[in-house]
Symmetry: C2
Subunit: 298 residues, 2 copies
């Protein structure tokens, strides 16, 4: 790996923001205007994506898992810094392919790549993105803004991540496998809705049940979910299949808590925040015991 | 590794800034006031530090290589995001030790840790820090602000990184080995000097010669260095030993270009920017050919 060459050939063409000074400097100037939030997510080969996944999908996944966090806070993505620890001896062709995916989604989400780091590693490919976002309101919509009695709503379908992982492990190119590799995430219009109506918000990335519990706890509440209302990748009436999908993670929907009875376009009501702590699950009015594992703990 | 437990036990206590919302959210709010710059550096075990280095020094090194970039731009460090890819099965005791080092230098440099990511890896320990800085002027002091005729000045001594690497490889606890593990970097007072007097500035981390060349090229100039004026870790009259130290990297001094004849406290004059492109080296008036490798290329 010739780091200087690769930076010039693949990274520099993606770096067009004035604040980056053409990557000729050690630091970049952040665009700040509205209140600025920031998130950082790391993907490790063999943990967060499969060694057999096409390289361009890895670049897209890195962007999307970070953008999902920004949209869920009622903000739009702005500047990114990218760190890549590239396995020694892995080819330039594969590096170029990762950057095809990155370029595609930097463009799609109008993100300015302003800096980062490129290093060699004896281990697995490890990518870290730091992404800033401009809040549409004066502040980000927190996990902690929920209150008892507010409705819980979700955008998108739950269960694609888990189904997709199974399919991707088999090397499939099915829609499910593709959704594991390149998650379908919320859009800027979702972010605008979140900023307009949500008292609390987060992206559901580790499993619906664990993330509902997290939002409720951060808000000092409990939560009651009516499982029959959860939009599923594989619709089912059976509690087991339903709970599997609700704990499998990698879905990148947005979960919000909303005051009052207004209709929220693009979102489906799945439950309410409660005064009683803990997670209460029902399926068509019948109590369902929460499974021992609510999702991906980290 | 129980990520949630480790985050609560080691990371959360370091997170006190309001913008971090107690790590209960997916994003952090950046402190922005003065123009905000940002840098990101990654350290990989076996590449940027030795597997035998004490864990607390790894935490300190991560902070310092990033702080050095901020100080060199005439700015002071502000907010940090930390990503750790931790080797599966490595002990909690060692994790705690990395955090002792991190805590020490977050405190020393008054940095607010506001977020990040913790993941498992099958590979080497890989740490990435994203660090913002508040500019003391209206903008960062760039590499590209130099002009022919300006003097080149340096803070600190050159060669400790290279000497220290050799010593650290032997497992020494000598001052040189210690300086490889925990680099001595510029201080906030250096940053204030940079902001006040420098037309161009950068930290010297890859070797003095290559970094002088980079600053000169970014400024559209060449550079002439009088090697006998370079402050060395091991002072010598021999060109070979001198050039070795000037190309070894990991020194984290600050290199600036200054207009006019003013005395700059804490800095030593080592040469000038020239209209003629390229790097001209002299030793007590005699021409010296630049070595084929000017430093660490990346």
């Amino acid at each position: 790996m010739q780091e200087t060459d690769w930076i010039q050939r693949y990274i520099a063409p993606l770096v067009t923001a004035a604040g980056a000074d053409g990557l000729r400097d050690d630091v970049a100037l952040l665009s700040t205007g509205a209140p600025t939030i920031v998130t950082m997510d790391t993907l490790v080969e063999g943990i967060h994506f499969l060694a057999t996944d096409p390289d361009d999908t890895v670049g897209q996944k890195l962007i999307r898992v970070n953008v999902s966090d920004i949209f869920a806070k009622g903000a739009v993505p702005q500047d990114a810094l990218l760190s890549i620890a590239w396995p020694k001896g892995r080819s330039e062709t594969r590096f170029a392919s990762v950057f095809q995916g990155l370029a595609r989604d930097l463009e799609a989400y109008q993100i300015a790549l302003i800096g980062g780091d490129l290093v060699a590693t004896d281990g697995p490919l490890t990518l870290t993105l730091t992404l800033t976002g401009q809040c549409l309101n004066a502040a980000p919509v927190r996990r902690s803004g929920g209150r008892p009695g507010q409705r819980l709503l979700i955008s998108g379908e739950i269960g694609w991540g888990g189904l997709g992982l199974q399919a991707a492990r088999l090397g499939e190119t099915s829609p499910a496998a593709q959704r594991y590799r390149v998650p379908e995430i919320a859009s800027e219009s979702t972010a605008r809705t979140v900023a307009r109506v949500a008292a609390a918000s987060m992206d559901v990335s580790d499993g619906l049940l664990i993330d509902v519990k997290r939002l409720a706890e951060a808000s000092g509440c409990g939560a009651a979910l009516a499982l029959e209302h959860v939009p599923l990748a594989q619709p089912t009436d059976h509690a087991e299949g339903l709970l599997n999908q609700c704990t499998s993670g990698d879905d990148y929907c947005v979960l919000i808590a909303v005051e009052g009875e207004q209709i929220v376009p693009g979102f489906v009501e799945i439950g309410t925040l409660t005064q009683i702590p803990g997670l209460q699950l029902t399926l068509r009015g019948q109590r369902v015991n929460p499974p021992s594992t609510l999702g991906f703990e980290h």
